[in-house]
Symmetry: C2
Subunit: 489 residues, 2 copies
């Protein structure tokens, strides 16, 4: 066997073990008896310890030094393997252990601080997390920008500066759009209660309408919806709230976007480093275009209105236009995860600017709360009332996820680019969506983006599919046009 073949055989086994670890994660959130948590922790630690040893296995370094793949696919495989290997070997083992220990404790400290609205109780821990992540970034970047080094874990090839350029161009137009919308009356929402079993039946129909392949996946419920797995076994979760069926429906469509991406990847890449979505941002572009540009379109909500009415009877709304408005309500709110299409990116940009300043050292952790509250008031026009609605709302920083937040908004930016190209490629898209037929849209996404898995870099795969380098223009044009019409701006 050549060095490349030996490396790939080793990598296949590693990918299979990663898949197992993901399956355990799915089981934990959906099926595991609650008394099993502690034992499961030890099982997860065992497989993580195997995976850790494989990531930094010296044979990988030897194989990488002499592997000579013959084609672009092989070179892309090496690119992915090398990034993992470099990351695993550059960070000193002691630092990696200290980070793992700290972040596993920090999540509990954060949760308690949030429950008690006690910022001071969280600050020393957050300071330590920032300190260790900066140390890690220094080991990874060898003198380069610390934040850029951290971003590579989530959006390889991107940088803080590049993201800032996009976000800074978005912010004023989004602030203006938001303010203009909130000057208008809020449309009526759904009222009453909605049987969770019927919500799940509609959810199934929506998943089928978006082409989710149930022979290679399944839908269960979980507290926080997620998608898990790749290739032939891609499972998604959703949730039901009797008062808020839209939450169920759009959680499902969102996760179907993630899951369909994984299901559509070229089977030749299965159980290889190229066999998964290429980045968090590109992944989010798929979930968001399914959920928003397609699932919240006037055309698709028209079809959906009939589905929801046949499941639940009269919704007390004045026809499909009112249903469309209800599915696209823009309202004041502090919480990122509950934000609408217009305001969501403002929540992200706030976090991005603050975390980048913390990592660079420009923003001391002790000043974070004031900085958060100032920025929130500037963009949203009202004051944060309590820390759980402010800087304590998200788990991410407690577990050391710096560089992750911007991928949510990058996903929206990518979705905007893809949507513009899709509209040009499928001129009768609205007629299809109005009939509940997403195959024109999802087929185009599969062909132009999803099937490639990790073959092209994030920036490249978006550029190939949309015909231009990613930029904020298409998303902003889409939002201004959609919400301008909906709110009569």
């Amino acid at each position: 066997m050549s060095a490349y073949d030996e490396l790939m055989a080793f990598a296949r086994e590693t990918e299979a073990l990663k898949m197992i670890s993901m399956r355990l994660g799915w089981d934990q959130e959906t099926m595991m008896p609650r008394g099993a948590a502690e034992q499961r922790g030890e099982e997860m630690a065992a497989i993580e310890s195997i995976l850790h040893a494989r990531r930094s296995d010296p044979r990988v370094g030897d194989w990488l030094a002499s592997a000579a793949p013959e084609d672009a696919v092989g070179q892309a495989q090496l690119r992915e393997i090398r990034r993992d290997y470099d990351r695993a070997t550059k960070v000193p083992a002691d630092l990696a252990k200290a980070l793992a220990r700290l972040t596993s404790l920090a999540q509990g400290i954060w949760a308690e601080a949030r429950a008690n609205e006690d910022v001071a109780a969280f600050l020393p821990t957050l300071e330590e997390v920032v300190r260790l992540r900066r140390e890690e970034a220094a080991a990874l970047s060898a003198g380069g920008d610390a934040y850029d080094a951290l971003v590579q874990d989530y959006e390889p090839g991107s940088s803080g500066g590049e993201i800032a350029a996009i976000f800074d161009a978005m912010r004023p137009r989004l602030v203006d759009l938001r303010a203009a919308i909130l000057d208008k009356p809020v449309p009526a929402g759904l009222t009453g209660t909605f049987d969770p079993a019927l919500q799940m039946a509609v959810s199934d129909a929506l998943a089928r309408a978006f082409g989710y392949d149930f022979t290679r996946g399944r839908i269960d419920t979980a507290v926080h919806p997620f998608s898990s797995g790749s290739g032939a076994d891609v499972r998604i979760t959703t949730r039901t709230n009797p008062l808020d069926p839209f939450n169920c429906f759009y959680s499902t469509i969102h996760e179907v976007g993630h899951g369909s991406y994984e299901q559509a990847i070229d089977p030749a890449f299965a159980l290889t480093p190229l066999g998964q979505g290429v980045s968090m941002g590109v992944h989010e572009s798929q979930s968001r275009i399914y959920e928003n540009q397609l699932g919240r379109s006037r055309a698709f909500t028209g079809w959906m209105y009939d589905q929801v009415q046949s499941a639940f009877g009269d919704l007390g709304l004045d026809g499909p236009d009112a249903f469309y408005a209800a599915a696209n309500r823009v309202q004041n709110g502090y919480i990122r995860t509950e934000a609408d299409e217009v305001q969501y990116n403002l929540h992200i940009m706030l976090r991005f600017d603050l975390e980048r300043a913390m990592v660079s050292g420009d923003l001391p952790v002790k000043d974070l709360e004031a900085a958060w509250n100032d920025r929130f008031a500037a963009d949203f026009g009202y004051a944060v009332d309590k820390p759980s609605n402010g800087m304590l709302q998200d788990v991410h920083w407690s577990v050391g996820l710096f560089g992750y937040f911007p991928t949510y908004a990058l996903g929206n930016v990518y979705a905007g680019c893809l949507h513009e190209a899709l509209r040009a490629a499928v001129p009768d898209l609205d007629a299809q969506l109005a009939a509940g037929d997403t195959s024109g849209a999802t087929g185009w996404l599969k062909e132009n983006l999803q099937r490639h898995g990790g073959l092209y870099t994030p920036r490249d795969v978006i550029a190939r599919a949309s015909g231009a380098a990613p930029s904020e223009g298409p998303l902003l044009n889409y939002l201004e046009s959609k919400f301008g019409a909906l709110y009569g701006l």
Copy 2:
């Protein structure tokens, strides 16, 4: 760290990985999308390859050579680890690979032969399986008895001769009992159809009545019911057939017996080699005593009759005595897995004698069908009509499981011994069972047997709990007494 501590740390991680492998097996039979089978095969192979390398890891040999545990628990841990290590290192790698390859193919060949009633199509494969297993037994036994060597995988410490002594004493009394019962009319069974969802509700109530801990387990459906996992995460499965609710109810109680054993093991043994049931036979003794001596008793079926009637309404049976008779019907039949309490052991003893003769070389594989059919006619009084009702009915031999069959009947023998001791220890057992209260029985089993896990050898743990070395007498006395009264013999 001492050699013993290092060995145990390694063993804990191995046990955690085994638990993961079991969880994947559970997932495959209950949750996995059908299109994922091939990918799952590769995932299973990856974790099996990790486990294989750990089993024969040379460090284990070094640790075993110098480990000096301070107590009986430590010595029992070493006993279990040493058996696995010896087994893994004594069998040449080429032979292990050849066996794995052959048995994974052989199962498909057997299934096709069974579907086509074509013994000749299976014989060459079975010959090869027998040949390789004999070769393996020779490597394991170093000149000792081949069958005895194979039995160690399933019932450590037992031997073909010891089992034969018990079985030979059982056979004439069982043949006589069977013949006497079948001279009498067959009692009425349940007729009509029974909603699967209601069957599962009754099944849940039965599991609770037998003390199954749902905070550390769950019940799902599977084609072939099984129990899986140990300690804090022990999952069982059952099945429903609209025409045969007893199959669901007694599959559940049987698997609750297996699962409760695993749930009751001393938590100090969790994720160690002592943290599982000690042998197949002892495991089966728990499933069988729950299912038969307790679950099919007149006392418990009286309580169960009320449960089943409140779920399904009138059963068309003439009261609880008729329900008891229906749950204990003895009827002619070819198939082991459908056999009643009386005839089941005859099916096992037939297989035991034939497989022992094949492994010793006394019975050439080409003569198996004739030997099977002769023996069946002698014990059951009528002829096998087709191979799928005869020597092709079970999967076990195709996958190389020689030495496994006798553990089913050993389990019944052990259950007989335990039941006799339990009756002496809990004099008002029937009054408890008649009220649906199994806690006296299951508490006694937990205290005297289940909590020990792998601490004592199979023979020892039965002798400690029942007060005497295992023997067939108690089981035969119980069967003759119970069925004598039921059938008026």
